[in-house]
């Protein structure tokens, strides 16, 4: 009766479940293997360069494939400056968008407008770059740069000739590309603010903006910070569009009008042409640095965003 049936039933259930769990679990383990392989391939691939140049790779600015001397400083400079420039432009806009679409906009407009903004993220980088070369770069050269050099030309930032392909163009195009992610994650952070926060402020007679300012933004602060960091990560790793508009000259110049070069761009441009082992290894090392930066940024951002979502338990159904 019971004694006869139960063990048999249990065992078959156990084995089916066990096999299924083992199968899907091994695929999940595959993700860890993938992460390890990714790290390992780039670590091994950059060994020659790391052993040859050591830390001077990060601090010297000679990039000479003929004599096989490689220093990545101009590219690191280009990546950092273009990404910060992108943040400087994108963060105020993203915050505005997030606040409008979660607090101030009429209910009916919120979902469609968010969808349209996120659609921008779906456009391939290479097409944004194409648009950048033929539309944005001439626009910045003819419309934006002249007033900047006339009125702010006393600053070293806006000096020298402007040919369109420049650090400024790169920063603007990066800003356009990170606005969707920064604004949508900021918006999510704002949406997790519990309703009673807002109700408290409204009950005290606050206007819509005052409610946002007093009750919502302080609450969503760490999530918004996470969104900004993720945007920075995107900007650092972005390749094609920047490569097409930043001018690709390894210069370290104070002027935003001067062409520049980023870490991702130099890999995209030179990898296929790199003939010697040391040359390839140096490019792989730049890739390895990019990977490390993106891992650190993502861990930091996840902690910030995740902590907020966890603690508040999510305001959305």
């Amino acid at each position: 009766m019971n004694k006869l049936k139960l063990p048999f039933f249990d065992r078959s259930k156990l084995s089916g479940d066990f096999i299924f769990e083992a199968v899907v679990g091994s695929f999940a383990f595959g993700i860890i293997i993938l992460a390890f392989l990714l790290f390992n391939e780039l670590f091994i691939g950059s060994e020659l360069s790391r052993n040859t140049f050591g830390l001077s790779f990060l601090t010297t600015s000679t990039w000479d494939p003929v004599n096989e001397i490689f220093g990545a400083l101009p590219f690191i400079f280009g990546t950092i400056v273009s990404s910060f420039l992108a943040l400087l432009i994108a963060v105020p806009f993203s915050l505005g968008i997030a606040i409008y679409l979660s607090e101030l906009a009429p209910e009916k407009l919120r979902a469609p407008l968010s969808f349209i903004i996120e659609l921008l993220a779906a456009i391939p980088s290479v097409i944004i770059g194409l648009w950048g070369i033929f539309i944005l770069a001439p626009f910045i050269r003819d419309q934006l740069a002249p007033p900047l050099s006339t009125y702010l030309g006393f600053l070293p930032l806006f000096q020298g000739p402007m040919y369109g392909l420049s650090m400024l163009t790169g920063g603007v195009i990066l800003a356009i590309m990170i606005i969707p992610i920064t604004s949508s994650i900021s918006r999510e952070a704002i949406l997790t603010v519990p309703a009673h926060q807002r109700e408290g402020a409204i009950a005290l007679g606050a206007t819509g903006w005052e409610t946002t300012q007093i009750a919502v933004l302080p609450y969503a602060r760490s999530g918004i910070f996470g969104a900004v960091i993720l945007g920075f990560g995107r900007a650092v790793g972005e390749t094609m569009a920047v490569t097409m508009v930043i001018g690709n000259s390894p210069l370290i110049s104070a002027s935003l009008f001067s062409p520049s070069y980023t870490m991702a761009s130099v890999i995209a441009n030179e990898f296929v042409e790199a003939t010697s082992k040391l040359y390839i290894s140096s490019l792989v090392e730049i890739g390895f640095l990019l990977l490390m930066v993106s891992v650190i940024i993502n861990i930091a951002a996840r902690i910030l965003v995740w902590k907020l979502l966890r603690v508040e338990g999510g305001g959305r159904a």
């Binding site: 695929f27 409008y100 770059g129 539309i135 356009i176 097409m244 993502n298």
Partner: protein, 278 residues
């Protein structure tokens, strides 16, 4: 007076934040408009079916690049979909332990992998091993970007399946693995499909991972172990040349690619919304 000032500030801030939205939409509209205007004149049947022609020669098209994009994305799907979906199943149904949370964390961090880094991986892992640029290397590089996206979206859609459905099935004596396969997965079908299609849309437009994996080719695909032409790489190649007739082809290629991606993006949301009335 005081009240008016506060109301004024409120209105002003509403205006400025709305202006942010409008300004952010301008580049999108400009891109769609310019790509359509410049691309539409060069698109015809030949463009979609012929091989590229040399500079200055009329005609020719991106037929091989369209074919190549489908092949490379297909390879990426063959690798990425099983790994991504099954990992997502694990994370959602069995992943509530230390290992599961670690995998989830790693997948999250991998979503931020710069696309050019995936390209280097494809190169050192596959191209160096086989000794030649190949469609397979391109597919592997793209799958690196695809796997974390599919894993996370699958996990999220499975988590939305109500516990009561699972419990009803388990209460009937159906083992957990059958419940997961036949009931949970089929309930979450549309969510998983949405994630899959959006991830395909994302990788179809990727250029950086393909530059030195699938490389490029001026002829039709002749084997998965050979270099292969893809739309994004072809657009890039045309865009950075100084020849106006190649620029025209870059725009036309961009239009084809953008239509493909927009169909995936808008279509997917439309279909799932209509079906489930969310």
């Amino acid at each position: 007076m005081k009240w008016n000032k506060r109301k004024f500030i409120d209105r002003t801030m509403s205006f400025f934040t709305a202006a942010c939205v409008v300004i952010a939409i301008i580049p999108l509209l400009s891109i769609l408009y310019i790509v359509t205007i410049n691309g539409i004149s060069a698109i015809n049947l030949d463009f979609l079916t012929q091989l590229p022609s040399p500079v200055g020669e009329a005609g020719g098209g991106l037929g091989n690049a369209i074919q190549g994009t489908f092949i490379v994305v297909g390879i990426a799907c063959l690798i990425g979909l099983p790994v991504g979906i099954l990992s997502g199943v694990y994370l959602s149904e069995y992943g509530d332990n230390r290992f599961g949370r670690f995998v989830s964390f790693v997948a999250d961090v991998l979503t931020g992998t710069p696309s050019i880094v995936a390209g280097i991986f494809g190169y050192t892992f596959i191209v160096l091993y086989f000794g030649s640029f190949s469609a397979i290397a391109g597919g592997v590089a793209l799958s690196v970007l695809m796997i974390p996206i599919v894993t996370r979206t699958t996990e999220e859609s499975l988590r939305l399946v109500p516990g009561s459905i699972k419990e009803a099935s388990l209460a009937l004596g159906i083992p957990k693995w059958k419940t997961t396969l036949y009931i949970v997965l089929s309930t979450a079908r549309s969510g998983i499909l949405t994630g899959v299609l959006l991830s395909i849309a994302r990788i179809s437009g990727e250029t950086a991972p393909l530059l030195f994996t699938s490389f490029g080719n001026m002829f039709w695909a002749n084997g998965l172990d050979q270099p292969i032409s893809t739309m994004p790489v072809q657009i890039y190649t045309y865009a950075i040349t100084p020849f106006p007739d190649w620029h025209a082809k870059a725009w036309a290629g961009a239009l084809v690619l953008i239509i493909l991606i927009m169909i995936l993006n808008i279509g997917v949301r439309f279909v799932t919304r209509r079906k489930y009335g969310v």
